[in-house]
């Protein structure tokens, strides 16, 4: 209701979309599922001249795999991440993260690329990609560059995308043998944005953590890898975790209407520990 009218343009390719973005010179946005963009429009938070609809682009959707990676088209919908067989067997953390997004209605229409480009620091998929060490393929229609998730998400709703770039696909490393995963989230209600969420990957050998990737969402302007936690759990067994993981530093949480900064700080450790424990258990099952 009460949205200022804008121009709607449907494109057939990402190159066409990039060209349209160039033409609009910063006053246009790409719409795919629209599940983040249209609420912001309706709330009057965005003022656009044009919306460029990529939802009909044929070759940017779906999941394929090769040796060590899953390739996921940017227009792949959350529901597909949730139900895809490759993802279920090769990167179940991603499935768990997608299952935590909003309601079924949102997961039906919302796309991977849309969520990543929106870059809400509390959103599940940017966090999962950061933990997984995923890489995003960005295109401006003529050239393509690859940016790791950790360098893509810059701040609240800010990314490394240039004015005329779109995410084309995401490359996600498969979960290796001996690895386990954990995904934990606390929100005020089911389906709400996370207050804090934790995504963890662990490789275990002989009951000890030999490698780990730990990331948190909702505690900073972007998803954060926690190198200090990763070092501190190196060599730990599941029973040592409480002792090894102290208060988590280097966070910059905010106080907002859903939680205080202090509470987010507290939850960061609780959820990290829970995700670590889940990951250890799964790693041991997998070994």
């Amino acid at each position: 209701m009460f949205v200022k009218p804008f121009r709607y343009q449907r494109v057939e390719s990402l190159a066409e979309a990039a060209a349209a973005l160039r033409e609009a010179g910063g006053d246009a946005k790409v719409i795919a599922g629209g599940q983040s963009l249209l609420p912001m429009m309706n709330l009057g938070l965005l003022d656009l001249v044009a919306m460029i609809d990529v939802s009909g682009v044929a070759d940017a959707r779906g999941v394929t795999q090769d040796d060590g990676y899953l390739h996921i088209g940017a227009l792949t919908r959350h529901v597909e991440l949730e139900t895809d067989a490759f993802i279920a067997s090769h990167q179940p953390l991603l499935r768990a993260a997608a299952a935590n997004v909003g309601s079924r209605r949102i997961r039906n229409r919302g796309t991977l690329g849309g969520s990543l480009a929106h870059s809400d620091p509390a959103a599940e998929l940017p966090l999962a990609m950061t933990a997984l060490g995923a890489e995003y393929e960005l295109t401006d229609g003529t050239s393509t560059r690859t940016v790791p998730a950790s360098e893509f998400h810059l701040s609240y709703y800010m990314t490394a995308l240039r004015e005329d770039e779109l995410i084309a696909a995401v490359r996600v490393p498969k979960l290796g043998t001996g690895w386990g995963w954990g995904f934990q989230e606390v929100s005020r209600r089911p389906g709400d944005f996370a207050i804090v969420s934790a995504a963890v990957l662990i490789r275990m050998a002989a009951g000890q953590i030999v490698e780990s990737r730990v990331a948190l969402g909702g505690v900073s302007e972007r998803p954060l890898r926690l190198g200090a936690v990763e070092s501190s759990v190196s060599g730990a067994s599941v029973t040592d975790l409480e002792e090894r993981v102290g208060p988590i530093g280097s966070l910059d949480p905010v106080t907002d209407t859903s939680a205080s900064a202090e509470h987010r700080h507290h939850l960061a450790r609780v959820l990290t520990l829970r995700a670590l424990a889940d990951a250890c258990r799964r790693a041991e099952e997998s070994a």
Binding site: P5, F6, L38, P39, N108, P190
Partner: protein
């Protein structure tokens, strides 16, 4: 009438089994298109954020928040709203009957959206527990009933469908 830089475009959908074509601004949400252009009034505006579920319709069988979908993106789709469940003489389908029997509507404003959420739930034929029904309903808000009669109705309807 419409003053600004929009693109009027013709969009055709099948709405409750009836082909509908309207020329309207490309910025129109599906909800406004249905309500203001096509005269389909049972999907309701409740929040405009995709949170409350009062505007839930089925787009090609899958539930969507009509308030955060552009009508232009629904070209050629089949739209089902709660009124589409109702027979030509106002007959209620088995799910609607269950809502009626179980007192699933008080003020009734969330009801059309609830019915579409439930329709999508019943479509896969899987029998759900009460907790699973509640899980699927969590994106549809009701402020009157406390949800229990709605869960009762869906439980009844899936039992009858079996």
């Amino acid at each position: 009438m419409n003053p600004s830089a929009t693109t009027d475009l013709a969009v055709t959908m099948s709405v409750n089994g009836r082909p509908v074509t309207r020329v309207a601004g490309g910025h129109m949400t599906l909800l406004r298109w249905l309500r203001d252009e096509a005269g389909v009034l049972d999907p309701k505006y409740g929040c405009g954020e995709g949170v409350c579920g009062a505007c839930t319709v089925l787009v090609d069988g899958e539930p969507a928040s009509a308030c955060i979908v552009l009508a232009a993106q629904c070209e050629g789709t089949e739209i089902t709203t709660a009124a589409g469940l109702t027979g030509p003489a106002g007959e209620l389908n088995p799910l609607q009957e269950a809502f009626h029997r179980r007192h699933g509507a008080q003020c009734g404003f969330c009801t059309p959206g609830m019915l579409m959420c439930a329709t999508a739930m019943l479509a896969d034929g899987r029998e759900r527990t009460r907790d699973e029904i509640r899980e699927e309903l969590h994106g549809n808000l009701c402020r009157c009933t406390g949800y229990q009669p709605i869960v009762d109705a869906i439980e009844d309807a899936q039992g009858a469908a079996r």
